[in-house]
Assembly symmetry: D4
Homo-oligomer: 226 residues x 8
């Protein structure tokens, strides 16, 4: 176990154990803390390194020490290092109920791509126009995992789970107002779904959904990739 100059105690072996390096949760950290932690992980990791929920100010501190880091402002995702492009052969479909959910969907898609997954983006297919999702049934079935991002009532995963045999990772978003209670309505909907086999991550957690997809597709990948 190493301790960084700032007294951080990073879990540098997590990549060996879990297939992915530790990520830096930027909220509540100083820009310097984020930069030191991210740089330290990037130096040690062979694959992708991330910081989540970062501000532009935190990113600017990171990019000074990890020059090729990239930043998605809408979701606050910093990608400090990318996996080698051929690591995992699978595809993840990232399906998004409405345009307001795009920031969360992009967090999932960018994370997945940085981990070496192919991403198929399917946007704006809310259940109030259910034919829109029906038209994409083949694209869903072609993917190895389907990440479904939806706010408001969060009903899209139930419909999709009835259309495809693929693993479903549902991401409730905080899009909505009033009785959506910052994503609670969508979260409870997804957990209570009548369509069995849907799994759920935290509200607005596109990053976690991509990690879950990566865990799933690594199981499916040939032995040499593990």
């Amino acid at each position: 176990m190493d301790e960084t100059p700032l007294g951080l105690n990073l879990d540098r072996n997590r990549e060996r154990r879990t297939g992915r390096a530790e990520a830096v949760y930027a909220e509540g950290k100083s820009p310097e803390q984020v930069a030191v932690a991210t740089a330290s992980l990037a130096a040690a990791a062979s694959g992708a390194v991330f910081a989540t929920r970062a501000t532009r100010e935190q990113f600017e501190a990171v990019v000074r020490v990890v020059p090729d880091a990239t930043f998605d402002e809408a979701s606050g995702l910093i990608v400090a290092k990318r996996a080698a492009p051929t690591e995992v052969a699978g595809t993840v479909a990232v399906v998004c109920a409405g345009t307001s959910d795009l920031a969360v969907a992009e967090e999932a898609a960018l994370t997945a791509e940085a981990l070496g997954l192919r991403v198929d983006r399917i946007v704006d297919v809310g259940v109030a126009g259910v034919h829109r999702v029906l038209e994409h049934r083949d694209r869903l079935e072609s993917a190895g995992v389907v990440v479904v991002v939806a706010g408001m009532e969060g009903a899209l995963p139930s419909v999709i789970a009835g259309l495809t045999s693929r693993p479903i990772v549902a991401v409730p978003t905080s899009v909505g107002y009033g009785a959506s209670f910052q994503g609670l309505a969508a979260l409870l909907t997804m957990l209570s779904s009548c369509a069995p086999g849907i799994t759920v991550v935290n509200i607005d957690n596109g990053f976690g959904a991509a990690i879950a997809a990566h865990r799933i597709l690594k199981v499916a990948a040939p032995a040499r990739e593990r």
Copy 2:
């Protein structure tokens, strides 16, 4: 204003004001209280009279004083008097996501029929097999009002609202467990729907949905019926 022998203070003119007599909410009342209140309303009302959430013991007290009263044990609905059969010309579609929701759907259907509405029952069309509801699009559009009954994630009204121009009265049910929180998940889903124009009644309130449908169809009915 009359007071009954038991000291009840019934609102006997409500029928004139609102088009429907007061209903007796049976929960927490003694069988005798339910019987006296129901009989008193039935004597005064020209149209249908109901007691809701009744037990068999309460019904048996009612039927002694209102001999042609009927009872639906699953929902606890007592119909003490029915409207004249031709009062309202409209049709209400009662759509039910799953068989477990049938008791609530039947409360809605029986209430609507007792109020003189035609009922078109469409059952077991949950969103996990969304083609089932798509097949019924014409029946939905033929109705004057669509009552949609769903528990668990309660997503069915969102799908239906995108398929039809008709008024939607959504009824969340307490079917489900865990994160469905006795119908809370379905309730929040229906209130947060991305499909505008859905209106919602209380959890398990099939009776209220039918009254709402009756209010709507009376607007549409010719003047002589009012």
Copy 3:
């Protein structure tokens, strides 16, 4: 299905299916996204087109591409196109418990007017001075639908439902503090009402109430829309 230049996937046939075009939920979208989506819907729709919960900045982007769009700053409603004036002949009474609820009531009224409905505004008739609403009983009964907007304890729909035979669409507002919990108290009140037949929409959802009223009045309209 069309895809717009920005990758939006609009449901342009919704108007044919449901009688109303899709609306743009502006929250969490960029001004450009709102403008492109609104313009695209306005080009395709024969009737009214709306964007809800918009900021002034989003409106300014819209008005550049849809020059006659109008904006209600208090509610954030953009009306990008209005229905032909004679489409639906019915009247919706929009009843408002207090002046603080006016923004939500206006969202309902402006939406209804844009959809071709006549609106009768009845304001400031809270239940603490219950004679104020009793005086308006005839105006309530003359309308085809009554939209009731109330915050704090949200008791007004219960009183009104006992006074009129008309369909009631109740809108809880987030007006209040402490135990009103941003509209939750009013929402629960309206759902738990002892007056049967009240239907409820989401907190602050004046737009949805107007859509529900439009659905109802279309049922009532004869071939030439009365």
Copy 4:
């Protein structure tokens, strides 16, 4: 401070400090514990003594040691001793929204009577037939305090507070289902009321409302009564 044979540590001087003896909360106590505590308080108190939320079995233990104790089974109230009849000259109006709320209203009325208050019972005046409460305006104003008992949406106190200048003690009840959440909806309604000056006690707490009324009327009573 005395300790009873059972190890109870009763607050026998509370009557001197607060004008009323301690009450025995029977829930979760053994019949013997309730009997010993009640008898001990009855022996020491000059005025009324109560046990609340008692079962018949607990009452039977009490009545063996306090032979003239009485029991109201619906509310579980044991009155072990009554105040001298002339103690307080005031009147409390106990107003009840529906028949299902009667048990709680009776707990309030019986407690008030045992404390020497006159009680004016006004029942079944729910807000869905608001004329029923308007007719009683004079009876409300004649009372010194108005206790208002209501379940479901709990809107009655708001209406009454706008009709009378008297102190209002509102009691939410657990009558209702679904979104009434065992009295939570009525509780929030009463706390959020737009009519200022309403005070609220716990759900189903008719006993506490009567104690509050007694506190109020003792302020108004002539000096010798204090």
Copy 5:
């Protein structure tokens, strides 16, 4: 019933019915709306007139039309007119658990004074130094009503109710963090108190507590004052 130039529909007779004029709830209203409503009520009322939860900007609009209006910035209370000084002879003790609760306590005290009540302020007597409140027992008993203002755990009313025979109006405040949930902890505490006869108003509602005190003390006041 009058309608003001701005379309406000004020309840100008409320003073005759309830002993106090309607108050203006300023939150969510424009400065002009607050000014017109307040001026209109002040012109019609014989006694005190208030606007609550006002901003300085709203007050400045009021004072232009009601020149002797006063403003308490901490609580947002505008007093637009005061009762004649001798109207009610009683005293209200306003007891405050901590200095952070002072804004709410002052709202209660200033309202009570404007209504013609004498106020005895007892501050900073939290239960963690319980001797501080014990020392004030005589001042509590000398008052006609005790308003108890407390945030965090809100335990002070329970202690006070055991010390005095007076009516208790408890005001939970939003002071606290974490598990106090913006006043919810204090609210539940006060409602669940083991000391019977405590009545409770909304979180931070010092205004309502004073109105309740006024209702109570008017009962106690000699006949000529009613």
Copy 6:
């Protein structure tokens, strides 16, 4: 689409679309309804058929029409038909924090086995004795999916996600009391985990976790098995 004698409207093609037949949710259905639905699905399906949350009485009705159905009384799982044993080659580790969670873990394990998965049961490895789970790191990594079942604080998935690269499906259980709120604490814990990539199903939903595992392992299985 077929309709059964009882009017049930089963989704008989779901197996073709999703790889698994519809399951019968037994709660709230009559024994006859459960039996007819289960038999109908068993006749049509080529693979496993389930009814969940069944009572013994419902099972007895099922076994009369599907003689080789089996029943796990603790979880209420009926297996009416099993997949051909070689369908899917993968292994699911079912890890259980405490013995009280065994019923939910067994529902997962039995469902997975009926779907043709191998199951490795690892029991009683709660985090208060964290060495117990560390000892099983190899067994976790050997599985294709890890289902983690935990009640009370539900911390086990966080620990396991840091130990293995495998997909994690976390199942909160309702084991616990007080602040565990029937599984809510465990549910929130699992959703809020600092270990990314954990996915979560509903409280006590062992069945859903097994379906999710099956979806995942089918992705990994060779082409002929799909």
Copy 7:
């Protein structure tokens, strides 16, 4: 690590690490499971062994294999083995707000005694008669730890924390109704206390409070006892 005949995986070394053996949480376990686990722990442990939340039926299974086990029916506590009497020299004061809280207080007291602590029971000292607790200040200060058990509003720990310098372990109980929400009110009260240094355990968790007291007093005990 041992596995028992029933497949239980007990943490038999926990005593060495934490000073106390693992306890058996009986809820949701079969009588046989409880008996085997308890006997197995009792055989291995040098000190006290417990099973909590047990039924009489579970106890009867335990006593067949651990003949000198004892059972407290009110709390469901089984003591299967007691610590050697002189292990810890300290005293824990167990203070109880009301008689209804006695079952939880006894669970704490019996656990503490079985662990070798002296217990000083102080009962029925609710805050509505606050002098009762003031009289015991010396007994509180003489103890090494004060466990305070209170339901309803749960205010007692705040008062006690202001009276003594000792560590306070507060136990909210589920005693109460309505707004006490099964102990939630007391729990939030204790967490939000204005008196710093109060620590809190789960609702009704007298067992956990005693373990916490034991942890504290072991710190204070002389070295040979560790």
Copy 8:
């Protein structure tokens, strides 16, 4: 009892009773109020004096009257006076799950140091890399008390409680998003822990945890503080 110039009513004897002076809760107080209260306590106290949740502006007012006061901006802690360095000889381990929890951990550590305790800081040992905490077992056991600070799922105290015999004071933090609900998830986790003997303080309440640790270590300290 003294009253300060500003009308504050400080509990200046609390130090004698409880071993620590009253603390000033700065939130909602004016800078002048905080300064006067802090200076007044510092003048009277022999040991440490604190103000919590202060802003820089409040600190600047304090430092003008208490020149050697110090301020920790991240947590808002003002230390106005420190205990004599030899008062208590014990050590408190402050363990922190993640860097984002550092502000709360520092509030605990700085408070403990000001009270004369030694502090051993152990940072960044979240359960997703559980080996990190295992490595510190000896440091935990060497401390007299372990304060564990964790946000998100808050699982760290459960793991630590299984590793050490020391008293555990768990501090949930508001670090996290979505289903962590501002610290509620961590709070419920810690209260529901399967590891007995964990005690919990309010969300983000590092100050309270240090006070609890001080209470505990004072019990353990011999006459000359061990």
